[in-house]
Symmetry: C2
Subunit: 415 residues, 2 copies
Amino acid sequence: MKPKRVEVLIIGDELLDGRVADTNTLRLAEALSEFNIQVTQRTTILDDTPTIVKEAKSINARGTDLCIVSGGLGPTSDDLTALAFANLGNVQLERDTETAQKIKERLIEHKRPVTENQLKQADRPVSSQILKNSVGTAPGFSFRYQDCLFMAFPGVPKEFDFMIEEHILKPLRQEALPSLKKKSFRSFGLFEAQVDDLLSGLPNKFPSIRLGYRAHFPEIIITLKASPQDEQTLEEASEFVREQLGPSLFSEEEGPFAKGLIESLINSKETLSIAESCTGGFIGHLITEVPGSSQAFNLGVTTYSNESKIKLLGVKEETLSKHGAVSEATVIEMAEGIRKLSQATYGLSVSGIAGPDGGTPDKPVGTIFIALSKEDKTETKKLSLLFGREKNKILSAFSALDLLRRRHHYPRGNS
Amino acid sequence: MKPKRVEVLIIGDELLDGRVADTNTLRLAEALSEFNIQVTQRTTILDDTPTIVKEAKSINARGTDLCIVSGGLGPTSDDLTALAFANLGNVQLERDTETAQKIKERLIEHKRPVTENQLKQADRPVSSQILKNSVGTAPGFSFRYQDCLFMAFPGVPKEFDFMIEEHILKPLRQEALPSLKKKSFRSFGLFEAQVDDLLSGLPNKFPSIRLGYRAHFPEIIITLKASPQDEQTLEEASEFVREQLGPSLFSEEEGPFAKGLIESLINSKETLSIAESCTGGFIGHLITEVPGSSQAFNLGVTTYSNESKIKLLGVKEETLSKHGAVSEATVIEMAEGIRKLSQATYGLSVSGIAGPDGGTPDKPVGTIFIALSKEDKTETKKLSLLFGREKNKILSAFSALDLLRRRHHYPRGNS
């Protein structure tokens, strides 16, 4: 049955002392949103029995009918969730013999001592139901207190995700609840404010659609959500997003940034080689994030020194001395050099000043040149970035691949 | 004055629908822990005035004397924090004229319309104090309700961090509170369970020291904390950690993984070149994360194809056909080839099967070979990894650099 009010209770000192950020709520909320179920509140507390009891009472008193509890089910002395819910219901703890047996077998198999602390993970409040955990030692349990059903899961993300899937999403799916329809769009090359401007007409045009943005550096991700009966409107709103964002939209799927580009190169039986400098290998990394990229990726070099630019890529000494390693003239020769060396269809090159040092009045930190060479022509692009070394490297690498993507994978587009 | 009980109240739908994870609490808690101040509870709620009022009352009723509020101070209609606290205190909202003037000037400067929604960011509950925000538009405010001081900050991480620093940490520092002493140690090459085993004697030996671990893939970070009077014990416990972890400990500072290695190469005037395959450029990326790495990094190549291994690195066709591209024999020739090509002190190479495809019964996915070549000898290492493509790539790259680190930067060590 679809719950009316859902809360999350996160238990653990490590969530409140700066060691760990709770990401379980994020994934739970994302998963529940598919069923149009909203998490109303999240409470994060220390490992302390009276505090857990008190908060559980407050959660019930607020009219919550389902509360997902994360953490406090492990083997150590600060794992107090089972004890706290026994106290809440004024019942005893009892040891689940089947679970205890499994824990024993597992420990013996791994040649580790069978300790009372380990077996404690089989203790559950009387009247609770054990919830199976196939990916870890400690099972969860569900426990009803007055009007609220508490479902306690281990806090380890991998185990928590298994428990959500197994004990919440599967049963919801079996009820064939009308699930929320959703579309995601990934853009590169626009600031969030620009995306916002381009899509400012959407809420008025499609009032039944929920529009959201999320920055996932260096991408901006746009999401549209709609009730099942608004599926047609969702499709129209999606078309509106595609028209407004044009070539800045690079994917409507999850996966590596370079996926569409690499697949498109493989389809057209073309190949790519790269000559990096300030990006240090990061472009190659982005390419090889794509499984099967070897079919399109010939060769990557990172020529950090002038010497290697000359020797390996055939950049002219004169070009380097006249224009410098960070210049349009140099990236052109790098891109042509790597293309010829590797006999690839495309040669892509980057040279720039990532920082924090190395800037000059003419070429401040963040000055980046990109060149893309094909047999018939070589084109270039200059960036002036304002981030630190790490983001400058990442953004330069994405921008270089994006130049080729816009030309190849999305030839209608322009930059 | 040092607060006795600190809570955090996080306001915003986006924190409860799967869009955004709250990381503000993490950084606040980390910062406060330096002063031995613990965050006791965090409550995350939706943008809704009655809910904010109700929760603020509960927070006060629990004996909290300081509550940091994050979010709900922006220009949109769902930014309700100021209104909610006015309701809580049963006072009016008033517009801070100085703040309103600044907002106007800022909008005019950026050629954007001066709207009522924008000006609303200058509205604060009567009797509250404006808290300056130098990095964003909306200032914060502090508001006393009965025994609790609420400090409301913008939720944007950059602005939230400024507010913490300016309005919480600076005043705490001026009181010269005894701050907690802390040491961090970064290890590579051990599982968390192994670190746990090696340090299992620490709590008994040094009962006044708080020991914690954190996995930051692929590193395990160990922290020790002590009260100011236990500084001497902290030093002894640190020595214990160093002895127990030995060469697996690669740094006691923040910064790129390769920092110590690169600095050590620069000091000894030695250089490194790399020949990558399955890591796709990620080793080069790790090296060039270090500012100034160009002094030690000659050349990186990513030879994804057999052809480029032969042509560029001089790997023998016979070696490839007899042993395959993923083999000890091939990585040896790659490492020697890149060392000679670039005339570097060290040649480092990796070849392996990152997955998801390409595995064979002999060489399953996750089989990785590493070679490190110096003029007088070449040594190799084989890994059998069990992750997916992404983590296999990352772990292979770290492992390759770690092999050189243990030989060069930490010559006492062994792997």
